[in-house]
């Protein structure tokens, strides 16, 4: 059974650490935090060509995590595969012992490093959840029976600061109806907005992992220049803290802020767990966890 599922169901406030798969096959950097962190976090998550930029496959990296005795969370994007490939990869994940799956639509190809690639989106994230549910029930998306059913712990994304909110809420509810068992948010910096989000959700037994992120120097520079274009906001006081830091210390300042946010989220019981994005660096993960009192 999924350790992540168990931890969420037992209200253990699990931490999922996001790794950064390489563009290439050199694994050292990606795996450097794993040995150190695997006793401190519940699972490691591997994005699937994040931001439409080519990276080592999430499926392969997740299997390597299993072999390192760590719990993987597979990301599966609708952008790069048609329904046959999605289903085949899901079955493949199951036989490789990977059961935690985060289903995402995927950033559009023109935003990434292969802008001329064909965008697929044969299924959307709601339909992909339905497909995975169908596989669990023993049939593929064409209704044909499977020989051996997989078991998944299915996650999806919800955007707490979406504006307008109602279409996002409808999509959230469709994802729940389609079989999502947990949700992950984009980075949370504005706790006021996150509280409002939690209050606006209808009462679901759905688990929410809030993302805590250490922004890179590029993102901080964008925010400083007023070119911020993210689906989450950065309160002015946090931006001020980040921009006041010396260039080489921006990440450490970010880790300090992340630790503080993590602590508040946990203390106020605003989330059921946390999804950490710390540039894939062991030292930064550690700083955030310590700052958050975990």
């Amino acid at each position: 059974m999924s350790r992540l599922k168990k931890a969420l169901e037992a209200d253990k406030f699990p931490v999922v650490a996001e790794l950064q798969p390489p563009k290439g096959i050199a694994l050292d950097n990606m795996f450097s935090p794993v040995g150190f962190l695997k006793k401190r976090v519940t699972a490691f998550s591997v994005p699937d060509n994040e931001h439409a930029r080519l990276r080592l496959s999430s499926l392969a990296a997740c299997r390597l995590l299993k072999e390192a005795d760590a719990e993987p969370l597979l990301h599966l994007t609708c952008r790069d595969r048609n329904r046959l490939a999605l289903e085949s990869d899901l079955l493949g994940a199951a036989v490789l012992g990977i059961n935690n799956v985060l289903v995402v639509s995927g950033d559009y190809v023109t935003l990434g490093d292969h802008p001329q690639a064909k965008p697929v989106y044969d299924a959307d994230s709601v339909q992909l959840l339905q497909i995975a549910q169908g596989l669990m029930a023993g049939h593929d998306s064409a209704g044909l029976p499977l020989n051996g059913n997989p078991d998944f712990f299915l996650g999806a994304v919800v955007i707490p600061e979406a504006d307008p909110w109602v279409p996002q809420l409808i999509k959230f509810e469709k994802k729940v109806a389609a079989g999502a068992q947990f949700f992950i948010t984009p980075a949370v910096f504005d706790l006021e907005k996150f509280r409002a989000f939690r209050q606006s959700l209808p009462p679901h037994p759905i688990k929410i992992l809030a993302s805590i992120e250490i922004l890179g120097t590029e993102e901080v520079a964008q925010a400083k220049e007023g070119k911020w274009r993210q689906v989450y906001s950065l309160p002015p006081e946090i931006l001020q803290e980040l921009t006041a830091a010396e260039a080489e210390k921006v990440l450490f300042k970010g880790a300090e802020i992340a630790g503080r946010l993590l602590k508040q989220l946990k203390e106020e019981n605003l989330a059921d767990g946390v999804y950490l994005k710390a540039q894939g660096r062991a030292d930064l993960f550690t700083m955030v966890l310590e700052g958050g009192g975990l």
């Binding site: 639509s105 950033d107 935003l111 959307d124 998306s141 979406a162 469709k174």
Partner: protein
């Protein structure tokens, strides 16, 4: 209507470089309305080609004709009377017109002068925008008359993606998010509950082979089945 854009002159010129007697065929319908392939544009391309060849000191003879619709046999059949007089054809029609004319005049090489862009509307003079991908499975009844297949770059069928910012599209901030518009349209009509319905996977089999439509009144004539 079908919207097209003129190909760069250098590409057209290079494609027909080996030929000395060329017929440029315009189309008087969609591409004439969007100002890329009608009678006027045929004349313009002919002048450009003649000038370019002249500057190179090379001979070129050009015939010009514009038919009502190149996608209709009735209008292109008369070209058969004189097409043999030319070495090559440049068609200024959409992809359908180029292919149909090329099929009829199969003994002569045919070259397109435009890139067919989309099925769209004429917003204002010279301003066209896409509306339909001809998916052969129209969703407009349940999406408030706004097409998610076309207007959402991802073609999502069940609501906005996570990249929408303030109702704008993640792909291009100048564009409105199709699903935000769909929601607002449905809400204005008191039909927002419609958005809760989970739409199933799109039936791509309806357009993965070259399509054919037979009007019900003509099924017997063309051997179609009811």
């Amino acid at each position: 209507m079908i919207i097209a854009e003129r190909k760069p002159f250098a590409e057209i010129k290079a494609a027909v470089a080996p030929y000395e007697k060329i017929l440029i065929v315009g189309c008087g319908t969609c591409v004439a309305v969007c100002l890329v392939g009608g009678e006027k544009e045929v004349g313009l391309l002919a002048s450009q080609l003649k000038l370019a060849r002249g500057l190179e000191g090379k001979h070129l003879e050009i015939g010009e004709i514009t038919v009502e619709r190149q996608c209709d046999l009735e209008f292109i059949r008369p070209l058969c009377d004189f097409i043999a007089d030319y070495d090559a054809i440049i068609s200024m029609a959409c992809g359908a017109g180029v292919q149909y004319l090329g099929q009829l005049c199969y003994m002569r090489p045919i070259f397109p002068a435009v890139n067919t862009a989309f099925i769209g509307v004429n917003e204002e003079a010279g301003l066209y925008s896409e509306r339909c991908l001809a998916c052969n499975n129209c969703y407009l009844a349940v999406t408030g008359g706004i097409c998610p297949v076309t207007m959402c770059p991802k073609g999502l069928l069940n609501g906005p993606c996570g990249g929408t910012i303030n109702g704008r599209c993640e792909v291009d901030p100048e564009r409105e998010c199709a699903w935000t518009q769909i929601y607002q349209r449905l809400e204005n009509q008191g039909r927002q509950e419609q958005m809760r319905e989970i739409l199933p996977l799109h039936p791509h089999d309806r357009r993965t082979t070259s399509g054919k439509v037979i009007h019900p009144a003509y099924k017997r004539r063309y051997g179609g089945h009811e």
